[in-house]
Point group: C2
Chain length 362, copies 2
C-alpha cells in the first residue's frame, strides 16, 4: 500500500520480499528473507533509506544496516520496543505513559500470584512474534499458560511471559502519528476500533463523543513517538476504560490497520506520510476529507475464488465505497482486503461499509 | 497513473513500454513498441484486456489484437476517430455534435478559399500524430501551411489538412465521461481549463458559473461516447463561445490531463474508472470530495535536477497540496508533473495551487 503514494510522488520504491508472488510483488525488486543479513545488506546497497512493513527484522540485521551507513527508519532502538512486549511495557512505564497493570511471569506460581493480585483474570502474552491476536490469551487459572512456559523452559533463556490486568474497557481507540528524523510530527484523528477475535474489524474516524480524550490521546502519542525516537508512522492502540481513562494497549511502528481509513479519508494517507517521514521530507496535512470515514476489514474472503469474482456485484451495489484487495487467497480469519467509505453520519456510514464488506464474507 | 488504483483494487496491471526506464517502468513487464504487432500480440497473450495511454496504436495492430480474441478497449472503430482529426470532425458532424466550421484543405488554393470564407483566419491541423499543441497552427495567410502540404504531396496519399474556423471563445471547458462495454456511463464535473501554448496548464473543477452548460456538456459527452461506442474514459475538450454555445474542440479516448484533478478530488478518479470500465466492472461514484479542486501542471520542471530536489521546500510550504511527479527529466514545456489542491473558493484554491507549482518552474 506504499506503492500508490510512491508512484504519485515519483519516488522509486523497491521491495525485498520473501518470495515471488507475495502481495507486494507489483514492486518486488529482490527476493530474500528479512532475517538473512546478506540478502538485506545487498538489497540496501541500492536505496536511500530502508523501512519496513512489519517489526520482525532481527536487531542484528538492523544494526548491520546502520553499521553499513544505511539510513534505517524506524531505527533499531525504536523497533526494539515494538519487537518485545515486555520491553514495550518497561519503556512505556518509564515514560510515564498510562498502561494496564503488568508484570513478568516466569512460571505457574508467578502467574498464580499475578492472578490473585488482579481479580483472578489476566491477559498473558508471549513477548515476541505475536500479531492479530496470536500470542495473546485471556487466562483465569494458573495452569492456562503451561504450554508457553514449557517452550520458554526449553529455550532456557530465563525469559518470562507478559501478564497484564484484564482491562474493563468501554471501547478501543487508536491514535496514529507520523514523525520525521528531524523531530517534526503530525497526528491523524483519534479513531474508534472494533476488534473481533483479536483482529481489527472496523474503524470509525474520528472516534465519536471522545471529548477531552482527543487531546489526551494526541499528546500521549506524540510523547511516545518522541520518547522512543520513533521515525515514520506510529500507531498507538488504546483502551478507553469504563471510568474514562486512556491506557496504552499496543504500539505499531509502521502504517497500521487502524489507519487504513486515511487512504480514502485524509488529505495525506498514512502510507504517503510514512514515505515522507522516512525520507525526512516535510509531512502532509492530515485533515479529514469528510465528517466520518469508516473502514471495515474483509476477513477470510469469499468461500470460493477471490474478491475480484465478487466485484461485479459489490461494486454495482456500492458505487461510493472504495474497495481494497490484497491479492491474497481466501482463508478463514485472514485479512484479504478492506473497504472504506465516507459520510456525514457515523451510524449510516458504518452500516454502508459493513454492507459492502459483507459481499466478500464466506 | 493507472498503477495506484490497480494496486488498490488488487488488479494485476502489466505494461508494454517502449523502453526500460520510462515513467511507466514501475509496472513494466515487457519492452516493445506499440507499432510492432508481434510484440503487442505476444504481450497480449497474458492479459484479460488491453487498453492504452495514448491513441497512436496503428489500426492494423488493433485489428490483429481483436482478431486474436483479445478484448480491446477502447476498440479500433472508436480509436480510429481519435486517431485522425478529419475523421473526428466527420463523425462528430454526422452525430450532430456542435463543432467549429471546418473543411479539408489539400493545397494552398483550398486554404485560401477557407480563409476567405472564415474572416481571414483559420486553425490548421495535421490529421494525425499531434498532441499538446503539436501539429496545430493558427494561419492567416494561404502560404502558412506550405511545409505541411509539401509533406502530404511527398506521401502522395491525396490526404489533406484539417482547417477550422478560429473560434472566438470565452473560455475552454472539458467534460469527461466513462463508459462500459455494456453501455453504462458516468460523468465527472464539467471543468474549466486554461491552455498555454497549446498545452493544458490549469484545470478548475467544477467550472464556475457554467449554468445550463453543465447539463449540455454532460449530454453531449454521453451522446458522443455512445455514438462512437467509446469504452473507457472519454475526455471532450470544449470551447464556450462568446455567445454562450459549446463547440467540441478535441476528443481523447483515455484518462486525460483535464481529468487529473479527479485523483485527489473525486470519490473515483479517472484512472480507477478507466480500469473499471475496460474490465466491464460497475463504475464508481464521481462525486467531488470538496467544493473546488484545482490542478496546475508542472511544465518544464526545475532548471537543474528533478522535482524531488525541490520537495523539501515545496512540501514544507504546502502541506495541503498533493504533488505528482512523473519521473521525467526537466525539459522546457514538458509535462513533468502536476499539483492538485482542494478548497472552498475557486480563486483562493487556484492561487494556492499556482504557488505550489511555482516551486518547480525553471
Amino acid at each position: 500500500m506504499m506503492v500508490p503514494p510512491a508512484v504519485g510522488l515519483g519516488i522509486d520504491i523497491r521491495v525485498l520480499a520473501e518470495q515471488e508472488g507475495m502481495s507486494a510483488r507489483i514492486a518486488a525488486t529482490a527476493v530474500g528473507h528479512y532475517t538473512d543479513a546478506d540478502a538485506v545488506l545487498a538489497f540496501a546497497r541500492d536505496v536511500d533509506v530502508i523501512t519496513f512493513d512489519h517489526e520482525h527484522v532481527p536487531q542484528d540485521v538492523l544494526k548491520q544496516l546502520v553499521g553499513a551507513g544505511v539510513p534505517v527508519h524506524p531505527g533499531p532502538h525504536a523497533l526494539a520496543v515494538a519487537q518485545d512486549k515486555i520491553v514495550m511495557r518497561e519503556r512505556l512505564t518509564a515514560l510515564g505513559a498510562p498502561v494496564p497493570s503488568w508484570g513478568v511471569v516466569r512460571d505457574r506460581a508467578e502467574l498464580a500470584d499475578f492472578l490473585e493480585a488482579h481479580g483472578g483474570a489476566a491477559v498473558v502474552k508471549t513477548p515476541r512474534g505475536g500479531y492479530d491476536g496470536k500470542g495473546v490469551r485471556v487466562v483465569r487459572s494458573a495452569d492456562a499458560a503451561d504450554d508457553w512456559f514449557a517452550v520458554l523452559d526449553e529455550a532456557g533463556s530465563g525469559d518470562g511471559l507478559l501478564a497484564e490486568e484484564l482491562v474493563d474497557f468501554n471501547r478501543e481507540l487508536a491514535q496514529s502519528v507520523a514523525r520525521r528524523p528531524s523531530g517534526d510530527a503530525v497526528a491523524w484523528a483519534l479513531v474508534e476500533t472494533v476488534q473481533k477475535d483479536g483482529v481489527c474489524a472496523e474503524v470509525t474516524a474520528p472516534a465519536q463523543n471522545a471529548g477531552t480524550l482527543v487531546a489526551e490521546a494526541r499528546a500521549l502519542a506524540f510523547s511516545i513517538a518522541e520518547g522512543l525516537d520513533v521515525t515514520g508512522v506510529l500507531a498507538v492502540e488504546l483502551f478507553e476504560t469504563r471510568d474514562g481513562r486512556l491506557l496504552v494497549n499496543e504500539l505499531a511502528m509502521r502504517p497500521h490497520n487502524t489507519g487504513h481509513w486515511s487512504i480514502d479519508g485524509c488529505v495525506t494517507s498514512q502510507f504517503e506520510q510514512h514515505l515522507r517521514a522516512v525520507l525526512d521530507l516535510p509531512l502532509g496535512a492530515t485533515d479529514e476529507l469528510a465528517p466520518v470515514s469508516v473502514m471495515v476489514n474483509v476477513l477470510g474472503g469469499p468461500a470460493s475464488g477471490s474478491m475480484l469474482d465478487v466485484y461485479p456485484a459489490a461494486l454495482a451495489a456500492h458505487p461510493d465505497v472504495k474497495f481494497h484487495y490484497y491479492e491474497k487467497a481466501s482463508r478463514p480469519g485472514r485479512k484479504v482486503g478492506h473497504v472504506t467509505t465516507t459520510g456525514g453520519d457515523a451510524g449510516e456510514t458504518l452500516a454502508r461499509a459493513r454492507a459492502a464488506a459483507e459481499f466478500f464474507s464466506s
